[in-house]
Amino acid sequence: MRVGVITFPGTLDDRDAARAVVVGGAEAVSLWHGDADLKSVDAVVLPGGFSYGDYLRCGAISRFAPVMQLVIEAANKGMPVLGICNGFQVLCESHLLPGALTRNSDLHFLCRDQEIEVVNNQTAWTNSFKLGEKIVIPLKNGEGSFQCDDQTLAMLEGEGRVIARYVGENPNGSRNLIAGITNAKGNVVGLMPHPEHAINELTGPSAQGLGFFTSILNAMVK
């Protein structure tokens, strides 16, 4: 089981993501934004950071990177893709996921441990969790406010495509407390907070983020 982790210029969570993949039980494969080569991976993680300096809009330029053309094609055919934070922004800009991530409602960059509730455990990346399971993982971003029009929101809610919600006060103004969503097939997941920073208690607030990386193994075995 090979899971690719893409590095764009300005990516900063690629090493933690690769480590989380390994601790989860898969082989981590480094992918470079400029190479049109997925190196025969079975799944891809788009890690957090500030790809291309967040110029223009977060994720707007990464979307056109050579490697992303292959990711978009493979994702549309069913390959599991997880976008975390900046990766979520890239997935929205790539139109693999609906909606957009905009400036936090209070304009502050947030960095804190955040409780979220897993509200869909049927996706390639969330099947290790119990439905309604509450986990604490880091949230660290400036543009994490999930926005979409009413019709899209009704579609996401109606089809059960919200995968995680913030618990308690809304940290960033996201509609319906949305922390993560999935596509119709459940193979592409975008998540604002960072499970890869919470895979053991020595370095993170919990080890509860690991579930995203063990889920992908279950998904491939099925």
Binding site: R57, P98, T102, L107, C148, D149, D150
Partner: protein, 81 residues
């Protein structure tokens, strides 16, 4: 030489925290005229000679694909002399 300007604005229904922050800073400085403020982006693109209809159509395509995110933003393309 002509200048093609692309103005990109958040759609009216999308929350604009930056515009709101500007709106609340204005009265603190004694400027009391603003009922609301929306903040956008402006791109100025220089081209050689007068723009043709085909060039403007190309800029509109670029505005749709790259300069704006149609999920949350609208844009207007205009030519300035």
């Amino acid at each position: 030489m002509a200048k093609i300007v692309v103005d990109v604005m958040l759609k009216p229904e999308i929350l604009d925290p930056q515009g709101n922050a500007v709106a609340s800073a204005l009265p603190r400085l004694g400027f009391n005229f603003a009922k609301s403020v929306r903040q956008g982006k402006r791109f100025e693109i220089e081209i050689e000679g007068e723009p043709t209809a085909a060039q403007i159509a190309e800029v509109e395509k670029a505005a749709e694909v790259l300069l704006s995110n149609p999920v949350i933003e609208n844009f207007v393309v205009k030519v300035e002399k």
